[in-house]
Symmetry: C2
Subunit: 338 residues, 2 copies
DNA sequence: CTGACTGGCGCAAACGTTTGTTCCATCGTA
DNA sequence: TACGATGGAACAAACGTTTGCGCCAGTCAG
């Protein structure tokens, strides 16, 4: 039953029912009595205004899109949950899309999302996304927020951590212990956050001056197979590094696997620092030193900015970048080199 | 720009544009020339029919809801990704909701989803959901599918594993090694799947007859804190079990933590079998023996059934339950009791 | 007694599609 | 020449809301 049928049933105008059910009863001076009558009948027959009709008329539908590269990545699933919950509090639903780390799929999905009549969009881009994604985003018909990965050439508000500083954080932790050869396992060389993290590592090394340790880099993809391959490449070298930093969250799994297969004793023969804290980080062997991102805060910020933009604010407060700091969680996977 | 503006621009009728853009050009005998002209202009101006208008008219919007208890639980995030991807192939979008394992939130969300004009619904209920959820689901205005957890009293198609058999599988693996005292760490005692898994364990024990081992049960919630507490309760007993089965995916984390704190040597002093295979299952210490669910297959089945229902089939093929088998992945976390 | 005001509500347009029906040429045939 | 077919496209109703405006009856002051 829709509100016009309900109106007919109660012998009032559709408009009256609409005003009551959308909470504008007093604004339009509907009498208490009529309001009560409508409310009760609506409850009795489970009548709720159809969002499609309302959306059509209002030009808003109370829903934003959320595009992530991989929902099975704990970083993004935590992000998704937080964003969804914060937005739900504000009466906004979330449509989820997962690009499976594939730029083509991402572009498809984005186009699809933009053709839908959403109120806004939160995009955590696949790292490698280039000019095509940017240009697509630029003509977004509604407020858009970039999450996790910075995209040059798009002036949407961006929420991310300071990846460069995070890279330095990871490297310094190893340098202080005297490591002289450090391996970096990248997620994807084309990814902006990956490059920034690596740059951060290099910053830290350069600050050591002449005593600057060796830096070995490997990796060309986020997938489990690619991570494994990169770890193998790093660990079967003659000049095997005494420590590895995995620049992407997934990289650590392959690294641990390979190290185990090669019979490398952890952490004595190989120290490890992993990006992204996970529930199981303290439980693997050895317990992992990780770089942890403030996911909740980032999601809160995203929801906050987006909903303020939905309320029609173009204020400077919401524009620009919002950069958070990552923190190092130290555990026994790092030690002095043998 | 919408299709009526485009029509005006091209000096054709809206209906003509609509028929071309929704792929019904030849059905309505639009000439090649007109079709081309419209197609090109549509591409040029990025015109796509507004789903709201179309949805309103058609009564369908090309979107289904997906309600899960916890998207950060790898089991559900894999499920979500698979479902989303399979449905996307069929041109259907997915709206995600996360109830955070809270029955109240779940009910709220469900009502919300049902008031939206969706085409269908996939629900993985919070275990404890009772009659209220069932009665809400019963008056669902569109096809609904139950995932992972069976709900008595709702005749929607259900997709799940045989939890009872899976419980036996876990128990047998320990019994064969001669364990005489087994602890079970439940997710939530009110959850149907939890009860089934426990029943499966009891089945296996009873088959041993007189030599039936001790069974200790603990746990009253899915949260990390509750899991920890349950593990503590189990491990600080005088008659500490020589093996633990964690009946819910999350339980193993707390168990490992507590075992480590208590200085229990794994697996010698305590064997472990965990429900739900995870990427890190082989990498923790000790590598975990797990019960693995065929997530992809389940998601595929869900998408298949739902989309066949969307095509208006009420066939017996899609009704009823679809029960899958779990498998045991054996690793070194189980051994003979000391 | 008249006029202005107000509380309470209905009217109707608009949002952007889809689709059954109608209409107008054009063509082939008788 | 006249007439039925047929291809091609326009017309208009319907989907379910929201909201500016107008209407009516009552109230109150002048």
């Amino acid at each position: 039953m829709n509100i016009s049928e309900l109106a007919q049933h109660l012998d009032v105008a559709v408009s009256t029912v609409s005003r009551v059910l959308s909470g504008n009863a007093e604004k339009y001076r509907i009498s208490q009595k009529t309001e009560q009558r409508i409310r009760e009948a609506a409850k009795k027959f489970h009548v709720v205004p159809d969002p499609l009709g309302a959306g059509l008329r209002r030009g808003k539908i109370g829903m934003v899109g959320l595009l992530v590269p991989d929902i099975t990545n704990p970083f993004f699933s935590h992000l998704a949950r937080a964003v969804e919950s914060k937005l739900r509090n504000r009466g906004i639903a979330v449509q989820l899309c997962d690009s499976n780390e594939d730029p083509e799929t991402e572009l498809d999905l984005l186009r699809n999302l933009m053709s839908r009549r959403l109120d806004g969009l939160i995009v955590a881009p696949v790292g490698v996304s280039g000019e095509q994604l940017a240009s697509t985003l630029r003509r977004s018909p509604f407020p858009t927020i970039l999450l996790d990965r910075i995209l040059t050439g798009v002036d949407a508000p961006t929420i991310a951590i300071d990846n460069r500083a995070a890279g330095s954080l990871a490297a310094n932790c190893l340098l202080e212990l005297g490591h002289t050869s450090i391996g970096c396992l990248r997620g994807n060389p084309l990814s902006r956050s990956d490059r920034d993290r690596l740059a951060g590592v290099e910053d830290a090394l350069q600050r050591k001056g002449d005593a600057s340790p060796n830096l070995l880099v490997s990796g060309e993809g986020y997938s489990a197979e690619q991570s494994r391959a990169a770890a193998e490449a790093l660990l079967q070298r003659e000049d095997r590094p005494s420590a590895i930093i995995t620049l992407s969250g997934q990289g650590i799994l392959g690294t641990l696997e390979v190290a185990r297969e090669f019979g490398i004793s952890l952490p004595d023969e190989l120290s490890l620092v992993a990006f992204d804290e996970q529930p199981w980080s303290p439980l693997v062997h050895p317990p992992l030193t990780t770089i942890s991102q403030p996911i909740e805060k980032m999601a809160e910020k995203a929801a906050e900015i987006l909903s303020s933009q939905l309320d029609g604010e173009t204020s400077a407060q919401s524009a620009g970048s919002h950069i958070f700091e990552a923190t190092l969680i130290k555990r026994s996977s790092v030690t002095i080199p043998c």
